[in-house]
């Protein structure tokens, strides 16, 4: 198995998960607003965030490649900020992974926030706790299974991301060659033994992720105040 590719895949998955937590949690909180869910701008944003679920990765990858080309608006801006280009770089596949995995993070986050009993939040406010303190002391304890589910799903899905990474990043060892791209290489080169090892690792990651998520789902819910 390609150790360099494994390490690169891990870095990509971890960074993507971190960025999606930073962007996705506030976004999901806004999307799950008590009386605005699925209406107006919220509905549009939620639809756009879900789009990668139904879009073929190669299609998304093609558009990303065009949109981030050095002559494009995004490409020029990125070039001026960092002096580098996006296609065929780690930053490029990171951007692609973040965008492609929006639904895997936003979905569970939004579901968790929407299921939160807002009366608990109001009770905390009335007990004198600030909005920030209430998020830490009420929202997180109530919603953490959903939040962790989103993070685990995102991580696992990035590990297996193939089409969009190949389109945007190509196949550069140590820079854009992830495990799934290496697996494709192995098969092309008829090295089935190496391919089998890589594939096994990917299956294991996916299994661990699903078992974790399942356990979170089965957690005894101490809901309701006994009405």
């Amino acid at each position: 198995m390609d150790v360099t590719a494994a390490w690169l895949t891990f870095r990509l998955a971890a960074t993507t998960t971190f960025l999606l937590a930073a962007v996705g949690l506030p976004l999901a909180w806004w999307l799950a607003a008590p009386h605005g869910r699925g209406t107006g701008l919220r509905g549009l944003v939620e639809a756009v965030c879900t789009l990668p679920l139904v879009l073929p990765p190669t299609v998304a990858g093609f558009f990303l490649l065009v949109a981030t080309a050095p002559q494009s608006v995004v490409g020029r801006l990125w070039g001026r900020l960092t002096g580098a280009t996006l296609p065929f770089t780690f930053s490029g596949i990171l951007l692609a992974a973040v965008l492609m995995n929006l639904p895997y993070a936003i979905g569970p986050f939004t579901a968790a926030f929407a299921a939160l009993d807002r009366r608990l939040v109001e009770a905390s406010w009335c007990l004198g706790e600030s909005r920030t303190a209430t998020i830490l002391r009420v929202v997180l304890p109530a919603c953490w299974p959903g939040i962790v589910t989103g993070l685990v799903m995102t991580f696992a899905h990035v590990v297996g991301e193939f089409g969009v990474v190949l389109m945007v990043g190509g196949n550069i060892p140590g820079i854009t060659r992830t495990l799934s791209v290496a697996l494709y290489d192995d098969v092309q080169a008829l090295d089935h033994a190496s391919a089998a090892r890589t594939a096994s690792v990917l299956v294991a990651v996916a299994l661990v992720a699903l078992v974790t998520v399942q356990r979170l789902g089965r957690r005894p819910v101490e809901k309701g105040s006994g009405r």
């Binding site: 009993d117 009770a123 009335c126 007990l127 004198g128 002391r137 009420v138 304890p141 101490e222 105040s225």
Partner: protein, 361 residues
């Protein structure tokens, strides 16, 4: 009782999501003010606006002279700055915290020793010591009620807001907890605004009352005043036409209580808990008027009364009486003519035993 100055004065309008406009006019004096009216009349919305959870469109809310909300000056204090104890209908205990954790939730900033002492005192006061480590979901409705009350009071708020505090409980428990709740509320010495649609709760728990219907305040006054002398027919329909009298149980025998009201002795079915101080409730339609005591009427309670006023109300006539206490009777026009009712006339009033309703105070 609350010290002078600790008064809530609120007069505002608020547009509800459903499109209706709700007018909230509430003032607390000493003790408990009940927001009373049928379900869906906007009581809860008024309470939420007082807590700072819903924002009124116009008007003012001031407490202790300081503004909490003032539409004209753009003042709107958040709930955190109003320092109220709010008890929602659903109690909203934090399911992942045990009883002690819930009660101590608001005391995070206190030193550990003081926090523990305050929590312990609150648990003792509400008889929750043995439940300190239990999770809310494992508690009975009455126990959850006490935890929620302890949690709201432990931080010593300046105003207490309660939304249908007993509605989550079943009827027998409600009857049992009503006097206890009244005692707790009086003990706090805080001004209290309490929302209820329950007639008995309003009587047992309230000092003052605000009667609401369809988002509007119809009448404000003391409980006895409003129930006995509704301002108009609408209020009368909401509160029921009833005389509310202060009485004292002087004897209980074979399930029947003898109650003294302003020197008149009445017999009634004894209430389950043996409190001496009671409200005696008499519905106007249950009061029979007689020219003589020896008329063929089986009602056990008979007493002399003087007619104070006679007001026609459709097919019926409302008769105000003075029997040492104020009493209202509702009779048909035919009966009124037969009896030749005129102010100043002396006659007898009669009430059957089951129609004398005792509410412990």
């Amino acid at each position: 009782m609350s010290p002078p100055g600790q008064r809530l004065v609120a007069a505002f309008t608020l547009r509800h999501r459903s499109g209706t406009t709700i007018d909230g006019s509430v003032e607390t004096g000493n003790g408990v003010v009940v927001l009373y009216g049928p379900s869906g009349c906007g009581k809860t919305t008024v309470l939420r606006a007082l807590a700072g959870l819903d924002r009124p469109a116009t008007g003012r809310i001031a407490f202790d002279g300081g503004p909490w909300f003032d539409a004209a000056r753009g003042i709107d204090l958040p709930p955190q700055a109003r320092d109220v104890g709010m008890l929602g209908q659903d109690l909203a205990l934090f399911p992942w915290l045990d009883v002690a954790g819930n009660v101590g939730y608001a005391l995070r900033r206190l030193p550990a020793a003081e926090r523990a002492a305050r929590v312990d005192a609150a648990l003792r006061r509400f008889d929750l010591e043995s439940l300190a480590r239990r999770m809310p979901a494992t508690l009975s409705g009455g126990q959850q009620q006490r935890v929620a009350l302890a949690r709201a009071l432990v931080r010593r708020p300046r105003l207490l807001l309660l939304d249908e505090p007993l509605s989550a409980l079943d009827a027998p428990l409600r009857a049992l907890l009503r006097p206890a709740l009244r005692r707790w509320l009086v003990e706090t010495g805080l001004p209290v605004v309490l929302v209820t649609h329950d007639h008995t709760e309003a009587l047992t728990l309230g000092d003052g009352i605000v009667v609401m219907e369809e988002g509007r305040v119809l009448q404000t006054g003391t409980v006895a005043e409003v129930f006995s002398r509704p301002a108009d027919a609408r209020v009368a329909r909401i509160v029921g036409t009833e005389s509310i009298l202060c009485g004292e149980v002087i004897a209980v025998e074979a399930g029947l209580a003898t109650v003294e009201v302003a020197g008149v002795r009445l017999t009634a079915v004894a209430p389950p808990d043996g409190g001496r101080r009671v409200h005696v409730c008499l519905r106007a339609e249950e009061v029979v008027l007689l020219r003589h005591t020896d008329g063929g009427v089986s009602a056990r309670n008979r007493f002399p009364a003087t007619v104070r006023f006679v007001v026609p109300e459709g097919a019926l006539v409302r008769v105000g009486l003075d029997a040492g206490f104020e009493l209202t009777a509702l009779v048909t026009r035919a009966a009124a003519e037969e009896l030749a009712l005129l102010p100043g006339e002396r006659l007898f009033a009669a009430v059957k035993v089951p129609a004398v309703h005792l509410v412990p105070r």
